[in-house]
């Protein structure tokens, strides 16, 4: 009896813990929908931020700025991550394979704020100004190991028979990889890339002292650039109710983008493929 009692109690506890964890997701979404939904209006997407104390305005520059920073990070990070992943899966050699894989995992685990320091000393210090480019470099460094490991995992899932077929037809190894293996794993690789971009687009810590912030449209990539996550932070910790309202609205927009990307990538694109996580 006693053992059965313990059994029932412990099993129920684990179920309760699961429910508790999952319910935080709905709690977070509920709060954001309620407060963010009340604060979100058309001006948010079309207007610039107003000076302190004035009610209204929007974050059009931060939305565009986020797009610029993340887009540029993707241009830098995706090719490096992709080819490194191809190396690990297809061209790995005994000497460097394991270290590259291990270091990629370590790089993935380095706090984003430390990556920010790297971008600061590589880009901000020489250019003597905060810039969108510096923010992109920081985000690219975070993106590379994610894309590398995901690309590797998905290429490894390509069946041996496909490779053998290509080789039997006389294809050289690089032709086999380029025309058979990569296309076969392309859905998964694309999923990994989208998830990686979704992850970096929510980052604010490495942007605080690289891309910094901007109340205006800002110029090119060498100017300080506003972004949604950084705006949320500065608005949330400010002392003005109207700015808090804007933080909620921006939070709702950010989470909508990140979760949409995640759901699309995991459910639609990678249907039936298990998505590895680092």
């Amino acid at each position: 009896m006693w053992r059965k009692g313990v059994n029932a109690v412990m099993l129920a506890t684990t179920a309760a813990f699961t429910v508790l964890t999952v319910s935080t997701l709905f709690l977070i979404l509920g709060y954001l929908l309620y407060y963010g939904g009340r604060s979100l209006d058309w001006n948010f997407f079309t207007k610039l931020p107003l000076p302190t104390g004035e009610v209204g305005g929007g974050m059009a520059n931060a939305i565009v700025g986020s797009g610029k920073i993340v887009g540029m990070a993707a241009v830098i990070g995706l090719p490096i991550g992709f080819f490194a992943g191809v190396y690990l899966s297809e061209f790995e050699d005994k000497l460097f394979g394991a270290p590259v894989r291990y270091v990629a995992d370590l790089l993935n685990g380095i706090p984003s704020i430390v990556v920010g320091i790297l971008a600061w000393s590589l880009v901000v210090v020489p250019l003597k100004s905060f810039s969108g480019l510096a923010g992109s470099v920081a985000l690219a460094v975070m993106l590379i190991p994610i894309v590398t490991r995901q690309t590797e995992q998905f290429l490894r899932e390509v069946p041996l028979s496909l490779r053998e077929g290509a080789l039997a037809l006389g294809a050289s190894k690089w032709k086999m990889v380029a025309t058979v293996v990569v296309p076969a794993g392309s859905k998964g690789i694309l999923t990994g890339m989208i998830l990686g971009i979704a992850r970096i687009s929510g980052e604010s810590a490495p942007l605080l002292f690289t891309a910094f912030n901007n109340q205006f449209w800002g110029g090119g990539i060498t100017q300080p650039t506003a972004s949604l996550p950084v705006m949320i932070y500065f608005r949330a910790v400010s002392a003005y109710d109207d700015w808090h309202r804007q933080a909620w609205a921006a939070g709702l927009v950010l989470i909508a983008m990140v979760l949409t990307a995640n759901i699309l990538a995991r459910l639609v694109l990678a249907k039936g493929v298990s998505v590895p996580r680092g």
């Binding site: 964890t21 460097f96 706090p111 000393s121 460094v141 050289s172 929510g202 808090h244 909620w248």
Partner: protein, 319 residues
């Protein structure tokens, strides 16, 4: 590894070999850039913090003074805050995460398990600034009005729950961190539990063990290295977490036993003060804090990855 070793391009013509050679070189160059980036990161942290390292030496780690005006910099209050908040986070998230992982891998029907796992992965995808935003406007007032007074009236005899509480502080930051790290513990532990061979469970059940006894005395010990790896991985995340912590910890470099008190952390002070640091020594001190944080997380992560590699390798051997 097995696939690339098994499939060797036949050396029919010389030109195909040159093509392979070039392709190999190209992808290797990209892979090597990961090693290069990491090396540059270490070099920059070391090089940029030189001014501060030479000025205060090892004393940096044990000094309690942080005064940008007189240019005296000590890391101890920040180190303390980082360690305390992460410890609180792990104390909460390990039982919660392990329990949920057990439920998902051992008990829930496959469809329920995969649906819940999907939701938990979404939880892990939520940006940290969003956690900070929510915690600032919901958890902080809750802790100020209910949590703090309640803990003081019931456990106030402990030094952990003494003194004034304003809602922000070590405990609040620790709770937010625990919510953020639970998804990592769950998904890595779940994978470690799923890698335990079926025969282990069947043998225990056949000997008359209950479901819980099977899980707790057979399956969990078998996967313990992977579970430990997941805990270390989450610990490293908690140590380096920036935005959510800086928004709720109070940003006050203090060392007190009270968890209700406001504090500071390494990541939070870098985030808060770096863009305002004007003098070279001030910047170098913040970079040195970054170096300390880097060292801390790299050791813990390094250990975690080795443990996870060890268990998944063990698991992949099953028939």
């Amino acid at each position: 590894m097995a696939t690339s070793a098994a499939v060797q391009a036949p050396a029919i013509r010389k030109e195909t070999q040159t093509g392979d050679m070039i392709a190999r070189l190209i992808v290797f160059a990209f892979a090597a850039s990961i090693l290069l980036i990491t090396a540059v990161l270490v070099y920059e942290l070391w090089h940029t913090s030189a001014l501060s390292r030479h000025k205060s030496g090892w004393g940096f780690l044990i000094s309690r003074v942080w005064d940008p005006v007189t240019e005296e910099f000590g890391a101890l209050p920040f180190l303390y805050g980082t360690v305390v908040t992460s410890a609180v986070a792990i104390l909460i998230s390990v039982p919660l995460g392990l329990g949920a992982a057990i439920f998902l891998s051992e008990l829930a029907p496959a469809r329920v398990s995969s649906a819940l796992t999907f939701l938990i992965e979404l939880l892990a995808a939520i940006p940290s600034v969003i956690y900070g935003l929510l915690a600032l406007f919901t958890l902080v007032p809750l802790m100020r009005i209910y949590g703090g007074p309640f803990l003081k009236s019931t456990l106030g005899f402990l030094p952990l729950f003494k003194g004034p509480s304003y809602g922000v502080g070590f405990l609040t930051a620790g709770i937010v961190l625990s919510i953020m790290t639970v998804p990592y513990i769950i998904s890595v532990s779940r994978e470690a539990l799923l890698a335990v061979p079926r025969e282990q469970r069947e043998a225990a059940l056949a000997l008359g063990a209950t479901r819980w006894e099977t899980t707790w005395q057979v399956v969990v010990p078998y996967a313990k290295l992977g579970i430990l790896g997941s805990i270390f991985l989450s610990l490293a995340r908690a140590l380096g977490e920036t935005m959510a912590v800086t928004m709720v910890i109070g940003n006050d470099p203090k060392i007190t036993a009270s968890l209700l008190s406001a504090g500071h952390s390494i990541a939070a002070v870098i985030a808060g003060e770096f863009s305002e640091a004007t003098t070279a020594t001030y910047q170098a001190a913040l970079v040195e804090l970054g170096l300390v944080l880097f060292g801390l997380t790299i050791v813990i992560n390094g250990a975690a990855r080795l443990m996870i590699i060890a268990t998944t390798r063990k698991g992949s051997k099953r028939p």
